[in-house]
């Protein structure tokens, strides 16, 4: 049995014991400590932390979740790491992101499903009233849920695009993958009235509320979803912090949720939106290029260093982190959530 001390971003220490045969994530959960995580199989990187001291053995994982550079720097994945000594870990999240009760499991009904640009779908789910949780959809803007198909055959995690609400509404934007189990369900079988198991909310890709810096959201494709959630919450809270949205897709017809973005521009007057299309048709009047290129341009003329929130595929995250570094934004002011295809 080893002692594990995990230090959170805001200075709290979370301590638990772990057997050598436990993953750190399982060991923590045995102690009723629910650390941010998602796929639990080394594929997403949601449970990545830094190792300050001690040794672990890492089971197999995807390089998209933990790069060689990150591993060399001492980073580990909690879902893949078994302790080989006492450990001190540094987490990139606040104590508030740690749950001390199991992640809720609830039932929700599919109430709307429609295309969202070419290649993605918009889903709306309605929570059922629950004796423990009521009707409310309580989460922190930016968090995700895990859905289980009606037949129990597949589980996938998706970010919520709407703000927390009392009506029990969940809104998701899902990119259709050619052979994804969930994508096949959405394409072929999904129907209004389907009941799904929802495990959540989870995740620590949330606003750093303590920071008064401007907020820049850099998102690709359905990575827009958590940024929409955060911006909708800013609108609801009448938050006056300067903010920008760099939303990128490959082709113009992949743009979606433009009506929502229009609404946000009205509700959050200081919001500046840059729509980025990598391979635009000739009449495209917006930014031609990736959202990271737009970010780099904007950083070069910024008067105040922003907090950068990045969501999209791993390559987008890496590029945005590099652009942030080049633009003088400290590494710990760049927050990211990787979307991995499964």
């Amino acid at each position: 049995m080893y002692k594990v001390n995990l230090l959170t971003r805001d200075g709290a220490t979370i301590a638990f014991d772990a057997e050598p045969s436990d993953t750190l994530l399982d060991a923590a959960e045995r102690a009723s400590i629910y650390l941010p995580s998602s796929c639990r199989e080394g594929g997403c990187g949601a449970c990545r932390v830094a190792r300050a001291s001690g040794e672990v053995e890492l089971m197999s994982y995807s390089s998209a979740a933990l790069s060689e550079d990150e591993r060399m720097a001492g980073d580990i994945l909690l879902c893949r790491a078994q302790p080989r000594s006492d450990l001190t870990l540094r987490a990139p999240f606040d104590e508030a992101a740690v749950g001390f009760a199991p992640v809720p499991e609830r039932r929700a009904t599919l109430v709307a499903i429609e295309p969202a640009g070419s290649g993605a779908m918009r889903l709306q789910l309605q929570y059922e009233d629950d004796p423990t949780f009521g009707l409310a959809a309580q989460f922190t803007a930016g968090q995700f849920i895990e859905l289980t198909l009606p037949d129990g055959s597949a589980k996938r995690s998706y970010s919520l695009a709407n703000a927390p609400n009392w009506d029990g509404t969940l809104e998701l934007f899902i990119r259709l993958q050619p052979h994804g189990a969930f994508s096949n369900y959405l394409r072929d079988r999904a129907a209004v009235g389907d009941r799904l198991l929802v495990r959540g909310p989870q995740g620590q890709f949330t606003l750093d509320e303590a920071s008064a810096a401007p907020r820049w959201f850099v998102v690709g494709g359905t990575g827009l979803a958590p940024a929409l959630s955060m911006l909708r919450q800013m609108a609801e809270f009448a938050d006056q912090r300067p903010c920008r949205l760099f939303f990128g897709v490959n082709k113009v017809d992949e743009l979606f949720a433009l009506d929502v973005i229009d609404g946000l521009e009205a509700a959050v007057p200081q919001l500046v939106v840059t729509l980025c299309v990598w391979k635009p048709e000739q009449d495209w009047r917006g930014f031609a290029g990736t959202p990271v290129e737009a970010l780099a341009q904007a950083l070069s003329s910024a008067t105040e260093r922003p907090d950068i929130y990045v969501c999209g595929p791993p390559a987008l995250i890496a590029a945005a982190e590099e652009a942030g570094r080049a633009g003088g934004v400290p590494h710990d002011r760049i927050f990211s959530e990787k979307f991995t295809a499964a």
Partner: protein, 554 residues
């Protein structure tokens, strides 16, 4: 960051004060620095308003802003850095307006306007980074080397006392009670702080003047609360939950509670009071709402556990807020001066969303066994039985009154107050004020001659009600307040308590016992003044202090 305004401030051998990345209250350094800057800019507003008033020109909106701005900086009120960036810009604009008001009034009176320096001339940066760089110019201990430690302490006493005055005056203001004399005193104090007054005797006189202004503020608040909701009457309050949807209302603002009761009328939602909202149950126009169901939980420092277990939305109408934990962060709302980044704020007194949240959350699944306490012994009730009280004192049935009042907190030394109440002899009456009472208000104290031995007079600001009672009883006995068989046992935590202490001193009330510790801003020389001139005593051992109090009266 440097802050030593509350009782729980960090104390070590090197001295007292929170100076790290985060204060003991959970406020981060950036927010604490912004609060200092906001107050500094408000001093500049005060410099102009003070002079304008002497020329007959006033700006009541600017005065109202100062009350609100100061209120946001009390301990456990507002932790939202972004809000302070906004408030500083507003304060700066209001200062420009106050400057124009003063200069126009001077010219109209055929005088040449003075060019003011210090806070009046300070130009705050427009963004967070710039403001952070200016923090040292507005720090509480700025110029300590020039002013001297005693002057810095006395100035802090005034600054913090002023926060208390502003908080009470703001509560009164929202219910429509305002006093020109309070605004004049606030402006005067701001101007005095701005000109770096450093003579300790002068500063102590100013502190007492502020204490008198606070008496007016408490009087205005008493008039506001009783005017709007009637005079408190003895009331049994349920302290256990009832099955059904539920809202918890904390803080001190009765107007917000009233708005919440209206917003939840006939919706099958029970409204519970928390902490300092408990006395609301004794106001006739509030207790007329059948869904004002009961009181939930204890004093503020237990909220993280109690709020997590409360199955509905929670509204913080004023202090004391501590960091909302993940388990309830999504269902806690702030109102008025209160704020926490990332927590829903209701700025327009429209609580419909809270009612909606209550419907969407599970509520209490079952009735808990019924348990009640009795509250509501405000000045009218106590004076209504003054004859009985006077007879009981004359016959010896009541030997002594202990007013055990003030805030609760987490410090271990605070068990003194429950020990004190429990150990007080059976022929003594215990009067309570503030949330310190939660340590013992569910104990059984019995009765004396049909009167409960434990009489709750209300919130901290109902110190006014206690002073009215003491003054009337003193008149009836033909003695001064200090000759009454009455001892004041005060527990303090934040700056309203500092204001109440200044009021007691200004009114010549002696022999106040104060704890669990003395304010950190008091230097040894200042403590000597309080002890020698005003008979203030730090608390000691409960039994010994009871014996000493009874011996003094005998």
């Amino acid at each position: 960051m440097f802050c030593y305004q509350c009782e729980q401030t960090y104390r070590s051998d090197e001295g007292a004060g929170c100076a790290g990345a985060k204060g003991m209250c959970g406020k981060d350094a950036a927010t604490a620095d912004l609060q200092d800057i906001l107050l500094y800019v408000c001093e500049g507003v005060g410099q102009y308003l003070h002079r304008a008033r002497q020329l007959g020109a006033t700006d009541i909106e600017a005065d109202r802003f100062i009350l609100f701005a100061f209120f946001t900086t009390l301990t456990n009120v507002n932790f939202n850095a972004a809000k302070f960036v906004e408030l500083i810009q507003q304060a700066s604009q209001i200062r420009d307006r106050a400057k124009a008001l003063y200069e126009n009034a001077a010219r109209a009176a055929a005088k040449i306007p003075q060019t003011l320096s210090g806070p009046a001339a300070f130009v705050p940066a427009s963004n967070m980074a710039g403001l952070s760089a200016q923090a040292s110019e507005a720090a509480v201990r700025k110029d300590a080397a020039i002013l001297g430690e005693d002057a810095v302490g006395a100035r802090a006493l005034i600054l913090y006392g002023l926060k208390g005055v502003c908080a009470y005056a703001h509560h009164a203001r929202v219910l429509g009670e305002e006093r020109d004399a309070i605004y004049a005193a606030v402006e005067h104090a701001l101007d005095m702080l701005a000109r770096e007054e450093r003579d300790v005797a002068t500063l102590l006189d100013e502190a007492l003047a502020l204490g008198r202004a606070n008496f007016l503020a408490m009087e205005a608040l008493d008039a506001a609360n009783t005017g709007a909701f009637g005079s408190p009457t003895p009331t049994n309050v349920r302290v256990t939950p009832i099955k059904g949807k539920a809202i918890l209302v904390s803080g001190h603002d009765l107007k917000d509670l009233h708005a919440i009761l209206e917003a939840t009328k006939d919706k099958g939602i029970n409204v519970y009071t928390h902490g300092e909202m408990l006395p609301a149950h004794s106001y006739p126009k509030l207790k007329a709402y059948p869904h004002l169901a009961g009181n939930y939980g204890g004093a503020w420092q237990d909220q993280q556990k109690e709020f997590a277990e409360f199955p509905g939305p929670i509204v913080m109408t004023s202090n004391c807020l501590i960091e909302p934990q993940p388990r309830y962060r999504g269902r806690i709302f702030t109102a008025g001066p209160v704020g926490w980044a990332g927590v829903r704020h209701i700025a327009d007194e429209n609580f419909a969303v809270v009612a909606q949240a209550a419907q969407a959350l599970p509520g209490f699944a079952e009735d808990a066994p019924e348990q009640t306490i009795t509250i509501g012994f405000g000045r009218d009730t106590v004076l209504g039985v003054a004859d009985k009280v006077i007879d009981a004192v004359k016959s010896g049935a009541i030997r002594h009154f202990f007013l055990v009042g003030g805030c609760d907190g987490a410090a271990p030394g605070r068990n003194y107050y429950s020990d004190f109440a429990d150990e007080a002899p059976k022929d003594t009456v215990i009067l309570t004020l503030g949330c310190g009472k939660y340590r013992f208000n569910k104990h059984d104290f019995g009765t004396i001659g049909g009167l409960p031995r434990l009489l709750d007079m209300g919130q901290c600001n109902d110190a006014y009600s206690a002073l009215v009672v003491a003054t009337k009883l003193a008149e009836a006995f033909g003695v001064g307040v200090n000759e009454l068989p009455l001892s004041l046992i005060v527990s303090w935590f934040e700056q309203k308590a500092a204001a109440v202490l200044l009021t007691l001193l200004a009114l010549g009330v002696r022999n106040v016992r104060i704890g669990p510790t003395l304010p950190a801003l008091l230097t040894p020389a200042l403590v000597d003044v309080l002890v020698e001139k005003f008979g203030v005593q730090p608390i000691g051992d409960a039994k010994a202090d009871i014996a000493a109090s009874l011996a003094r009266a005998a």
